[in-house]
Amino acid sequence: MTSDAFVEFERVQKSYDGETLVVKDLNLSLPKGEFLTMLGPSGSGKTTCLMMLAGFETATHGEIKLDGKPINNIPPHKRGIGMVFQNYALFPHMTVAENLSFPLEVRRMGKSDREAKVKRALEMVQMGAFGGRRPAQLSGGQQQRIALARALVFEPELVLMDEPLGALDKQLREHMQFEITSIAHNLGITTVYVTHDQTEALTMSDRVAVFDDGRIQQLAPPDELYESPQNSFVAQFIGENNTLEGVVQEIRGDHCTVKLDDGSIIDAKPVNVSAVGDRTLVSIRPERVEMDKTRLSPDAHTLKAEVLEFIYMGDIFRTRLRVAGSDNFVIKTRNAPDQRRLTKGETIEIGWLADDCRALDA
């Protein structure tokens, strides 16, 4: 563990029923000011982790430290952690200003201080004129801003967000993603953000922890996560991916050849395969598939592919191919003036750089 860790999970386990572990041996540390996203499918244990950090669930085993101090036995209201809930949890019987003033009141802050802080917080989320409204009179996006302002108004050093944008429509969500990250970075607060939306995770975070089955599968910055997934779960969960199954035929340093189940040979980069003869799942991003042989090395292997479907999506073309017996091989090409538009039934030859094709665990 690094010494400058602000939040630390040490060997944390959690079980609700005493029979199965929801969180299995979680180790995580994040420095001050980092925006970390916990990403994973539902039931992967990410929300449980967040609730343990907030103090609403207790860890069955292990220790959670905040700023170097163990907080396992500190009740939630003394942890001083700001939290934004999935459905905002704005108190319906209070006005917006009263909602914001609530955390300051329970901290026994003077009235004039309170009013100044509430005003500043409202202006921060551009809701200065809405102090007198009730939450029910606001739109979803506005409620979201108020919930954010309320979690920040008492100046916590750590803010937790539990799928805060889940209830918003796409456009608003994208806008709020940008707004939340810029506020978090401007204030320099540490943020732990939970979501199951990988786009959200990639666009907002400094680092992303991909959860599955109660464990962190990979903890990495977004670009690394996307481009160098450590295992097949991460590869399939993050972004779109083509997978082909086969057996490792030869390994030479960071290059290997894989014999697919239909007998064809491809180039790949060994990631977590260790020996010749291992079964592997190779994964390749749709946008990294190459149709132009001139861009590949002369000795690169290529595959024959039959075009099954061509979809015009505006900025890109999405083409579904039959490759090595799989009907779900997709390639994406940019909508550029010189780009080839494939037609259904056409047969083409495809290949890729060995570095773009990762041989992962089967």
């Binding site: 907030a54 103090g55 939630p76 809930f85 949890a89 108190f91 309320r150």
Partner: protein, 517 residues
């Protein structure tokens, strides 16, 4: 479209495509729907109207209706109107004469006892007065007049004489006789008899004497002769006859009561219900020792509030548990809450009797524990305490259920949010959870309070003297004293009190804030 925009520009009403005003065509379109909806609810509406609204309306009207005096003593009521009750003197001859005739018919029709019962509510003793008098009224010594008229002219024995006389213009000179004759004819018709075949009753001779003694202008030989002879007749004093029947007739108070309750509409029942009484001087407070309804109303309100309060205190934690426990445990608890609902009210109330009485379970346990001496067992039943305990238990589900259904809608994240913002458990509850549960408290309170204020069986069984409600008094007047008018007046006051409280609640808390689910 063009039509609409043109007419709008001119400032006229919006028009539909065919040129009719939009509002009219909309309401025409909606009318069919409304009629169909109305037809669907019609059976229930008619049922409720016939079995609920009409009987209650009729019952409430009884609180002011007072036909019985004017219908039983029509002539007396007219004559008595001129009597001055302040003079402390008995009414004059005209009243006695009218009363004699009225009483005669009333006793023949057996209506005098009903009237006596009615007036007995206002003055005790009147009932027996009327009963006694009713037995005597056709045996008054007024046959003296009959004998004298017949002695004068045998024709007076024949009903036809009266008929020819009183069905002609001559009747104008003999108003009392004419009126009595008309009623006699009606009476015979009711009975299925022929008036000309019946003997002329004594009161007709008395009336004739009464009219003639005033020396009216009369015509016709028989009548003129009678008029001339009347001043020399032997007389019978009607007041004395009545005094013979019952000397209370000499008490002006009786006459005052009859006069006060002559109108067909009276405020007397309401005055009674408010511990006041009608007097010739107006409505006055009853003497201290006769005031009971004020105390009863106050007690009813006080105890209903106590019951509502204790229900709130007991129900809140239970409702909270129900709303927050895991489903399986909550369902079990819900069955326990509903169990009393499935048990007969009488059984539950009787169970409390067993529990609370002096030789009952609780006292036995306390004595056994040595907390209470055997000769100083606690009195917990047949008083206010017993009523409050039993009714709180019985009405508790009505408080728990609305509270539960409101609490169920409060997501637990609110409490979490409050705690994450720095609130202690108590602050989070008091500032965040409690305000949101208020609508449930409101709904439960209205329900329990309104049920409690009209409760009857439980206070009747466990209330004793100090723990009964106004409803027990209403029931007494309905079924025992049969003073339905007073019962109706008490009921009306109760209804008004509840409506006023409901209105006040709406003003203070707002009825929109009441949620049943």
């Amino acid at each position: 479209m063009a039509d609409a925009s043109v007419s709008e520009a001119k400032g006229g009403p919006m028009l539909a495509a065919d040129g009719t005003p939009l509002k009219k065509s909309l309401s025409r379109a909606l009318r069919r729907q409304k009629m169909r909806a109305l037809a669907l609810i019609a059976p229930l509406l008619v049922f409720v109207l016939l079995t609920f609204v009409l009987p209650i309306g009729d019952m409430l009207l009884r609180s002011i209706k007072n036909d019985i005096v004017a219908e039983t003593l029509p002539a007396t009521v007219v004559e008595l109107a001129d009597w001055d009750p302040e003079a402390e003197a008995l009414p004059g001859d005209d009243v006695w004469m009218a009363f004699y005739v009225d009483m005669w018919f009333a006793s023949e029709r057996k209506e005098h006892t009903r009237l006596g019962t009615r007036l007995n509510y206002e003055q005790t003793g009147v009932s027996s007065l009327f009963r006694k008098t009713g037995r005597r009224v056709d045996r008054f010594d007024t046959d003296v007049y009959a004998d004298q008229f017949v002695a004068l002219d045998a024709a007076w024995e024949n009903p036809a004489t009266f008929a020819s006389l009183l069905d002609s213009d001559a009747a104008d000179a003999l108003p009392v006789t004419a009126d009595a004759w008309a009623r006699w004819k009606d009476f015979n018709e009711e009975e299925g008899d022929k008036v000309l075949e019946e003997d002329v009753p004594d009161f007709l001779y008395t009336a004739l004497y009464h009219d003639l003694s005033k020396a009216p202008q009369v015509s016709g030989p028989a009548l003129s002769a009678a008029a001339a002879a009347v001043p020399g007749f032997e007389t019978v004093s009607l007041p004395e006859q009545f005094e013979d029947a019952d000397e209370d007739w000499m008490d002006p108070e009786v006459w005052k009561t009859i006069q006060l309750y002559s109108p067909r509409v009276t405020s007397g029942y309401f005055a009674n219900a408010a511990d006041m009484q009608l007097t010739p001087e107006g409505i006055q407070q009853r003497p201290e020792n006769e005031q009971i309804y004020g105390t009863l109303f106050k007690r009813t309100l006080f105890m209903s509030l106590m019951i509502t309060g204790s229900c709130i205190l007991l129900a809140y934690p239970v409702a909270w548990l129900l709303a927050n426990l895991p489903m399986r445990v909550a369902n079990l608890l819900m069955i326990l809450v509903l169990l009393p609902f499935w048990t007969s009210l009488l059984v539950r109330t009787s169970a409390w009797k067993v529990m609370l009485q002096q030789q009952g379970v609780i006292n036995d346990v306390l004595v056994w524990l040595g907390l209470v001496a055997d000769d100083a067992r606690l009195t917990m039943i047949n008083n206010q305490f017993g009523t409050i305990v039993a009714m709180t238990h019985i009405l508790l589900p009505f408080m728990i259920l609305p509270m539960y259904s409101v609490m169920q809608t409060i997501p637990p994240t609110y409490l979490r949010a409050a705690k994450s913002l720095g609130a202690t458990n108590w602050t989070a509850f008091w500032r965040v959870y409690f305000p949101q549960s208020v609508p449930g408290i409101g709904a439960g309170s209205i329900l329990v309070f309104i049920l409690a204020i009209g409760y009857y069986i439980t206070p009747e069984i466990v209330g004793g003297n100090t723990g009964t409600f106004i409803s027990n008094r209403i029931a007494y007047h309905i079924s025992s004293s049969l003073n339905w008018g007073l019962a109706a007046a008490l009921g009306t006051i109760l209804l008004v009190v509840v409506l006023v409280l409901y209105w006040a609640y709406d003003k203070i808390v707002g009825i929109d804030n009441v949620k049943l689910g």
